[in-house]
Symmetry: C2
């Protein structure tokens, strides 16, 4: 299996080699929504936060305050807590939060702070976000992937717990993206969320609920996050401004529950442990970035709903374009090609009648001008070998139509040559 | 022993409680030199880098490029490599570098990437930078402190290696601040540096040469860094813009040697390992911060010598003021109080005739209005209990005179009460 960095470098290499190719590989926001944060807008946000937090007139003092070393837990916890309550319906409070250098750091810190026992294991779904598997691996933690085809995730957790017990381990953490999952695009419904919480409470498993795509719902009603459904205290909520504002800010946050399984002291202890690890990892998150985030939150009255509205409309249309393009281009494949219709987010999952590996990525790029992400890059076994992840977030409607048609051409060729071989 | 985060939170608490107290505790740049980076200057630097790297006229594309996810190893490696060659005399090259979220991340990544064997140990001097001990501890690595009173550091390394061997371990990494050490202010001379390199080459120990204060020399000639003296390939050079530009940028860098002990392939392998760990830790360093650093380097013609000149003059004067104040205020103590006269950097070390603990910090702050840093916070044993670290970088000349006089008052009181007790 390729590592995450190797995957990225492989994909970048392919993209560099074929700059004209349409890419459905990268899970990044569309450039046009980043352009709103032009240099003047960045400065404006920075100044806005600076003025808001500096009641006196001593602007010099204020300038140096933001540019100095700062609080390890972050300086915009109050504004971010407010935004999470408003936009994500998460019962966040500043004193239970840590601002991190992107959500990836939040994830890495939670994993190492929580999994200190020699028998601790981390549960993920298979497939899952490659950065989660990588963080588990980098900290030499034990990873247990729960098969995705088990639709009853609560049952999957129960089985995993029993199996781990047999080998002398216990599940300590469950990592999940309940909304518009990366890489599958799937959503966990509310009844499943409640069952997951119940089983996690039973086995003292802490859920790391990662919600980077939650603001990007294109249809249906939003589902209450696990962090809000959680009554026993077993959910840490991970959030990021990479998709709503800009990846380059590298500002994320983690929010601890009010208690861990009823124990409020444990929350202070885990918070201190995480803050200490943060201080030895990156000291504190750039206060320049934090001030920009804070300034935009102030400008927007505390919520990013309005800010993301044009992007939500755009991605919604992109999803519809991709689904239509798939229906049209893959019509000849009848039942042998399947995809899901994600209710939000950046991704959908496509299943092909043949295995899709690194060589296929290259062939697709070379001969058909389209770059896609094999689902095997998000998996530890062969279960995902026939699937690919298609991102519709950063391609234009024209590119989506052309790219899906090219992908179907490739698939037809592959299927034909497979027939010949057989 | 208190942890680093606990130390900082304790000191912040004391500082918050006594805002009028003079603080010699924090090792931070003087506010007045951060004020040069006012919002307009930040914007100017950001725009300058943007224009420089964007040869075409497509400014929208350029904006979104900087705001997107970016290269894990960083985008300003060429400019930073040039600056390190110019200013630090380090043979840096972009392809052997990684830009990190502050130098703390560079340190953490090097430690975990290099020390993967179960018998690997990390050598540090005792006392040393608390963030280094913390990073070692956070990764559950084995720490071996070499006593500072052993002036022959090469001999100390030899002894440590022998002792570790006896318990089935081997030293894998040596962490050092050769210029104006934090916390002691000491410099390792060139002949010692050569001997250290020799002994490290002999035992295949990799030196992490951390040089945050190298640009701040107040007298004497600069000494060639270990990374430049290194002929066998055993030095990784760690650098930061926190002291030269601003801590809030959170931009540091690590530079690998051309070979590890003659093996050039090993450099590519370690580089890839570090980049992979970086991708699972923080994905990439904020491109906003990187662009600001890049823009200032471009404005300054590639070197920061001119930029730091006023700060060097200021800190030089501050050091002189502190030494004079010490000579005057501690005259009554004759031989029982000693301090060093650092040739650069932010710190000096003061030895008192009594033990200086957390209670002493509080008494000093409450009764004498001066906050200092016990040297025990940088140590794993009791050897430093009578020493304190005095930072002269952020106090004004008036504060230095007043603060040192207050400290002497406290010391006189302590000595008198000690006499009464005896």
């Amino acid at each position: 299996m390729l590592s995450n960095a190797e995957v990225m470098s492989f994909l970048n290499e392919v993209a560099d080699e074929f700059p004209a190719a349409v890419s459905f590989a990268a899970g990044r926001p569309a450039d046009k929504f980043l352009e709103r944060l032009d240099p003047a807008a960045l400065l404006n946000a920075y100044n806005g936060y600076d003025k808001f937090t500096n009641s006196g007139s001593d602007t010099c003092r204020s300038t140096s305050r933001l540019l100095q070393y700062g609080r390890t837990g972050g300086i915009v916890t109050d504004l971010v807590a407010h935004q999470l309550r408003e936009d994500d319906n998460v019962p966040a409070a500043p004193e239970r939060m840590v601002i991190t250098s992107g959500c990836q750091e939040a994830l890495a810190l939670c994993l190492t702070a929580l999994c200190q026992g020699p028998t601790d294991a981390v549960l993920v779904r298979n497939p899952t976000y490659a950065g989660a598997m990588g963080a588990v691996d980098a900290s030499k933690l034990f990873l247990y992937p729960i098969p995705l085809n088990n639709d009853d995730l609560a049952e999957g957790i129960e089985k995993a717990t029993a199996e781990l017990k047999r080998v002398g381990r216990r599940p300590r953490v469950l990592y999940l993206i309940p909304n518009f999952d990366n890489p599958t695009g799937r959503v966990i419904d509310e009844s499943q969320r409640r069952m997951i919480l119940e089983i996690c409470a039973k086995h003292s498993i802490i859920v790391l609920e990662d919600n980077p795509y939650g603001m990007f719902r294109y249809e249906g009603l939003s589902i209450t996050p696990l962090a809000a459904l959680d009554k026993v205290g077993c959910v840490i909520y991970l959030s990021t401004f990479s998709k709503t504002l800009a990846p380059a800010l590298r500002v994320g946050a983690l929010t601890l529950p009010e208690s861990f399984f009823g124990n409020r002291t444990a929350v202070r202890e885990i918070w201190r442990e995480i803050v200490q690890r943060k201080s030895f990892n990156t000291l504190n998150t750039s206060q320049i970035s934090q001030a920009i985030v804070g300034g935009i939150l102030l400008q927007q009255g505390g919520s990013l709903r309005q800010w993301v509205r044009p992007a939500v409309a755009w991605y919604h249309n992109s999803r519809d374009m991709m689904i239509s393009a798939l229906e049209q281009a893959f019509a000849p494949f009848a039942e042998s090609v399947r995809w899901n219709r994600p209710l939000g987010g950046f991704f959908l999952s496509l299943e092909l009648p043949f295995s899709f590996d690194e060589r296929a990525v290259r062939e697709c790029a070379v001969d058909h001008g389209v770059i896609v992400m094999p689902m095997r890059f998000f998996s530890l076994d062969a279960s995902q070998d026939k699937r690919i992840r298609l991102s519709f977030s950063s391609a234009s409607p024209e590119q989506i139509v052309a790219g899906i048609a090219s992908l179907a051409d490739y698939a037809l060729n592959r299927a034909a040559s497979n027939l010949r071989v057989t």
